[in-house]
């Protein structure tokens, strides 16, 4: 990552892609962006950002338990994330999004998961370098096998999401009416949490448990700032995700600073720009104008 940057971008890219790990990073980053866009879009729409963040952080105990037990960290990520999704869904008022009970429950799950992760790390005995990798990701250490696994998982999650898309959209926008029309709102809610868990488990391995948010929330939130139309918004979320990942990999390669920093900064810059644009555009009818009691 000490290569010299020239303004001849074609040469730069050719130079960068002569290294196999950079090619793998671009492949994995592309898959992650395509996956995180739609899942994140639904997460933002459903106001489940906190749950998403919790599921992402659960990857830490998952991975550290796997390291401690000496099994594959992939298994650890998935087992812990899916278990946490079931737990969040099972806790009281889990279906009533936004209630204070739920926020306390999600918070408790998250804190306990982190504490468990800390325990596993201590038990294993000092791998603070590896801890940082778990938290902040190993974008540049991705193998071709990981890319293949990632592709398979992403395809599976996106296929299920596409199948559930329409009823999930209905249930997310107006759960009461959807429930009255016979849409299985609770089942969809659980299914979405599981999809979210699988996504975070996957993305965590690339971006680290802490920075997953950059890819799940920022492109989706940016897209929702710009448009209320679902199909267009989903496409925008994917496009922003790709832009963020590619630019940050490029910047990370040519600068001494970590890719995680670039990912979050570029993502946030897009979000801030979109927030600045929004007052000029028409308001989103639902998401951005919560029903308020008059002062």
């Amino acid at each position: 990552m000490t290569a010299a940057f020239s303004w001849n971008l074609i040469n730069d890219i050719r130079d960068m892609w002569s290294l196999p790990f950079m090619v793998n990073a671009f492949r994995a980053g592309t898959i992650v962006a395509v996956l995180a866009g739609p899942v994140g879009w639904f997460m933002v729409l459903r106001a489940q950002t906190f749950a998403g963040h919790t599921l992402a952080l659960v990857g830490l105990p998952g991975a550290s338990a796997a390291v401690w037990l000496g099994i594959s960290s992939l298994a650890g990520y998935f087992a812990f994330a899916l278990a946490a999704a079931l737990l969040i869904a099972a806790l009281p008022a889990g279906a009533n999004r936004g209630h204070s009970n739920e926020s306390a429950a999600v918070g408790t799950v998250q804190a306990f998961a982190l504490a468990t992760g800390m325990l596993f790390i201590t038990l294993y005995g000092g791998f603070s370098g590896a801890t940082n990798a778990l938290l902040f990701g190993t974008f540049l250490g991705i193998t071709s096998t990981q890319v293949a696994v990632l592709t398979g998982c992403a395809a599976a999650v996106l296929a299920v999401l596409a199948a559930l898309g329409r009823p999930l959209l209905f249930a997310s926008i107006d759960p009461d009416v959807a429930g009255a029309r016979g849409v299985p709102v609770r089942g969809l809610s659980l299914a979405f949490l599981l999809l979210l868990a699988m996504t975070t488990a996957e993305v965590s391995q690339i971006t680290g448990a802490l920075l997953i948010f950059a890819l799940l929330v920022l492109p989706a939130a940016t897209a929702q700032r710009l448009t209320a139309r679902p199909a267009f918004g989903l496409a925008l979320a994917v496009a922003f995700g790709l832009a963020v990942v590619w630019t940050s990999l490029f910047a990370g390669y040519y600068s001494p600073y970590p890719i995680g920093f670039w990912t979050t900064t570029i993502g946030f810059a897009l979000y801030a720009a979109a927030s600045g644009v929004r007052p000029l555009a028409t308001h989103l009818p639902r998401r951005l104008d919560p029903v308020r009691t008059p002062a």
């Binding site: 429950a105 408790t108 804190a111 759960p175 709102v185 950059a214 979050t264 993502g267 009691t293």
Partner: protein
């Protein structure tokens, strides 16, 4: 017990831990009541970045912690409406702040001493309650007590504003100002707890005792007391266990006790059929005013 307390580092841990738990229990009650736990979560990560920023600049980590946490807390309130940030704003801002934290960690590791490896980051993230000096323990205790005092002073209007924002505003309670003030207190608490349980684990002390207390009683004053009590008990029991079973880190034992108290409260609570409880869900449009809805059910 006596043997444990004869060690100075355990005395410091108990002094700082008790005070921080008191503050976290009280602040946590309002966080849960106002459905702002996510804000607390975000601020704990902000504390991480603040501490690293100060370290990278060569300052004392405490200055960075407090200044950064409080400023970002108020900024989140400004970005949201009526001093209440919404979850997309929180998520976006703190994703970026975490990224900054990583950046600063790299900066710190490369510019400061060669031994400044990942350790600094890990300590900030997971806390070092057993490594507090006498002075910093006392300072922590004093700041925590100040937070408690301010919170108790504004408890009545804050409770009113949290339970029914509209009516409170109509009765000339400064709802927005209280919102900012409360966010600043939350920021200070997050900064404080960082030294005790670490940036990542603060949420446990903020959410679990308060969640448990609210499952057990609906009366605000009792719940506040209970929340603070459970938090303090978690710290005491957690420290004692960690002292005797030294293979477990104190952050883990403290949070394990807090989490079990939440689970026990959830199981123990008789759940009467409430009109809202059986509903499958609410529209996302409602989430902004959820704090006011909470006790209206």
């Amino acid at each position: 017990m006596i043997g444990m307390l004869s060690h100075p580092f355990m005395q410091h841990a108990f002094i700082a831990g008790t005070a921080v738990a008191l503050a976290a229990g009280l602040v946590g009650y309002f966080l849960v009541l106002r459905a702002q736990v996510f804000t607390g979560d975000a601020l704990s990560h902000v504390a991480f970045t603040g501490a690293l920023a100060a370290l990278a600049a060569g300052l004392d980590a405490k200055i960075g912690l407090y200044a950064f946490s409080i400023v970002v807390a108020v900024a989140l309130g400004v970005l949201g409406r009526r001093g209440r940030p919404d979850d997309v704003v929180i998520g976006s801002v703190f994703a970026w702040i975490l990224g900054l934290g990583v950046f600063l960690l790299t900066l710190y590791a490369t510019t400061r001493s060669g031994s400044g490896d990942g350790r600094a980051g890990v300590t900030v993230l997971f806390g070092s309650i057993l490594g507090l000096s006498r002075d910093s323990a006392l300072l922590t205790a004093v700041i925590a007590l100040v937070i408690c005092a301010i919170l108790l002073a504004i408890a009545r209007p804050l409770l009113f504003a949290s339970i029914d924002e509209a009516v409170a505003a109509a009765r000339h309670v400064p709802v927005r100002l209280l919102g900012y003030g409360f966010l600043a207190l939350t920021g200070a608490t997050a900064a404080e707890s960082t030294q005790v349980v670490g940036a990542l684990l603060i949420l446990g002390l903020l959410a679990a005792p308060a969640g448990a207390a609210m499952q057990l009683t609906a009366r605000p004053l009792v719940a506040m007391g209970l929340s603070a009590g459970i938090a303090v008990a978690s710290v005491w029991i957690g420290l004692t266990v960690a002292f005797h079973a030294s293979w477990m880190p104190p952050s883990f034992t403290i949070l394990a006790v807090a989490t079990s108290s939440y689970l026990v409260a959830t199981v123990a609570r008789r759940r009467p059929a409430r009109p809202f409880a059986g509903r499958p869900g609410r529209s996302p449009a409602d989430t902004g005013s959820r704090g006011a809805e909470t006790l209206r059910r």
